[in-house]
Every structure is written in structure tokens, then in C-alpha cells.
Subunit: 216 residues, 2 copies
């Protein structure tokens, strides 16, 4: 089955960075947005086989749906798309539960009732394999298409098959090494690691810190 | 002023690994333990100017006190030593609030009332500069004295002066790069990162995974 990737929130910095990298690798990409106009615009700027759509239309034939929206939009967006997911589709949640969602800081995270943003997504998507991934990949680094990414991609989830598909997709990005971080309830550790990088970016006045796990 | 380091919980794997590295660098080290006998034994095996003591005696003339005890022993140990700290002493907390303290898993962390184990330590030590550090340095890697450590040391705290002293100490360990991760309330992110490494060790059957921040 051909991989078709929908990036929901694909007009934001993180989403369009991922979309551009996958398009560059020859993957068919659907950009989803609340605004069809903005989705078209982002798709045109990426080029290749990339197309732009309203969020529910973007996911309709996607085998992998990547959610890159702020925490404040996560629940509503999932409710908007869940009726349109193709059978067998995998949902990848990249949400970092930053305190900024309630007017706080981008370097702090909230403790969610479900334990993590990815588990919150899984609760809203019964029966759908959810993988947590891509939190640590800097939007700025993704956007520099001629540069490899100096960052590992830690992923977790409860379906080995879904993790394998996401691993294969992630490894199309030059420089990215995928590391299996276990079941979905480890997502809070990945979300925390992303907040740590945001905090280091602010403190050390850079935009693209990343992380590498040594000893593996 | 000469640096004198007390390692409280210095007979455990993490504490004795740190103690051995600092002793190797020529630092004067006091090993603290609840058992004076075990402290003597650990000090003898490390050698150099290292001496063994009951915890309160170990900290009495130390300029930097490093706490490497399990979460279950953290509060009691701090109460035991706080009356014996030298004026101006810095306390470095390396506690990772692992769920194992309540019979759970070593790859999960508890959410503490204070936000992190380091903030819990700071609450119990009013007026004492507390730095969170050393969580991610593998005990196994520390013990291999002829090998450099392939891991960054993220540190945080509210006293710039105390962080500078801990940075200078940490950089005596070959391979370690110290990264300032901000104020003490970021300690939860460092504690989470350590739990992530423990989880990766278990999953990938290694004992000494570490982390490097890229882009800084």
C-alpha cells in the first residue's frame, strides 16, 4: 500500500517543515488546515505531489495522519477529523502540552488528566493506533531542506506495526535516527524532552537545539 | 577556598561512580552513608584522599554536598544532614523521582507536590543554594574510570554562583559537557530525561545510554 501522509496543522512551522521533508523524499503529502486557502498556499510552496485541503478532507485517504497543532487546538481538531479517518490509518501525535495553552510559558508543560497529549489523543480515537513522535525535531532545522537534521526521533506507541510504519517514514529525513521509546504511556517523557529543548533554545538563544541518545 | 565534595548516598552505584571520578580528578571527597562501615569500605576502594563517614559527619566541612539516594530516602536523609551543613555549602540533588519508590517501575516517575525532587530538596533546605544535576550520567559509565563519558550534564538552579561551582566540578569528568538548563523549577525536565534514559536502557538492553544536546 502506498504511503499517503496527511499533516493536520500543516500550515504551521512544525507541520510544514515535516511536510516539506516528506515531499522532498517523494512521499505523497496532504496539507490539512482549518483554512483551505492557507492549505493550498502551503501545498503550492512545498510543491511536488503535495495538495492542500480542509482538515477532514486531508485525512480521508491518508495512511499516516500527523497532528501538529498547538495543545489548545488538539481536542477540537481530533474531533473534526476522527469521522474521516481511513480504515487502518495511523495517527501520529506531535503535540507538546505547553503551558502557553493557558497563557503560560512555552518552556513549561501541563500535566494532563490522561498523562500526556498523545494519550489524550488515543482516548479520543478509540481503535486507532496512535504513535507519539516528532516532538523534538526543530521546525527551523526541518525548514533548511539542504541540511541534515542532527536529532534522534524518539517514538512510542502500543502498536509495533504502527511504530514500524512511522519509523520508516521518519527515516526518510536525512540525519534522523529513530529510537523506540516503548509504549504510548512513555509519551510524557518525550513531551518533557521537547519542552527541555524549547527551554534550552530560549536560554541559549538558538532555535534548533536537538538531542542525540548515546550508548545505543 | 578548596573544594571538598561530600557524596551522601556515596556507597550506592551512582554516588560511588561520581565520587570515584572526582577523586580521580584530585578533588577531596567524603563518602557519606547511613553505615559508617560501608562508607569506610567505599572510601578505601576509591582511594586517594577519600574518606568515609556517617552522613552528617561527611557533610560537615564540604563545600559541595551531592545527594545520590533513592527517592524513598531523600526526605529523611536531608533531615539528617541539614543541621550539619557548613555555611555557604551548595547542595546538589541528583534524585530521580522513580515510581519504584512506591513499588512501581523504574522507568516511570511520580509527580511530586513540589514539582520535582530537586524542588522538594530546596523546600527542606531553606537558605541553601540547591542545584539539580547528574541525573543522566550512567553509574555504569562513571565506574569505567578509563573511559570518557558520552553524555551532557544538564544542570539547573536559582543561584548562578552555585551553578558555576557545580559546572566546574562536573567538568572534571572527561567527556562531560555542562549545559545550563535554567532555574530550579526546570528540574522536573531533567528528572524526566533521566527516566527516559532508564526506560531506553531497559528496552534496548544496555546500561549506559546518555544524551547529547545538539545545536548548542
Amino acid at each position: 500500500m502506498q504511503t499517503i501522509v496527511a499533516v493536520v496543522g500543516g500550515t504551521g512551522a512544525e507541520g510544514s517543515g515535516l511536510a516539506a521533508r516528506f515531499a522532498q523524499a517523494g512521499v505523497r503529502v496532504r496539507i490539512g488546515s482549518r483554512s483551505v486557502e492557507k492549505a493550498h498556499e502551503a501545498a503550492r510552496s512545498i510543491g511536488g505531489q503535495t495538495t492542500g485541503h480542509a482538515n477532514p478532507d486531508a485525512v480521508a485517504d491518508a495512511t499516516i495522519v500527523i497532528l501538529t497543532v498547538p495543545l489548545s487546538a488538539q481536542v477540537e481538531t481530533l474531533k473534526t477529523i476522527r469521522g474521516s479517518l481511513a480504515p487502518g490509518a495511523i495517527v501520529v501525535d506531535a503535540t507538546v502540552p505547553l503551558e502557553v495553552a493557558i497563557g503560560g510559558r512555552v518552556s513549561r508543560i501541563l500535566t494532563l488528566w490522561d498523562g500526556s497529549a498523545a494519550q489524550q489523543a488515543a482516548r479520543l480515537l478509540p481503535g486507532v493506533p496512535v504513535v507519539a513522535a516528532f516532538h523534538a525535531l526543530s521546525a527551523e532545522a526541518l525548514a533548511k531542506l539542504d541540511h541534515a537534521i542532527d536529532c534522534d526521533a524518539l517514538i512510542c506507541g502500543d502498536s509495533a506495526e504502527a511504530k514500524a510504519a512511522v519509523k520508516q517514514l521518519a527515516e526518510t529525513i536525512p540525519g534522523v535516527r529513530v529510537i523506540d521509546a516503548g509504549p504510548l504511556d512513555n509519551a510524557r517523557l518525550l513531551e518533557s524532552a521537547a519542552a527541555l529543548l524549547i527551554s534550552l533554545n530560549l536560554r541559549h538563544k538558538v532555535k534548533d537545539s536537538g538531542l542525540r541518545i548515546t550508548g545505543l
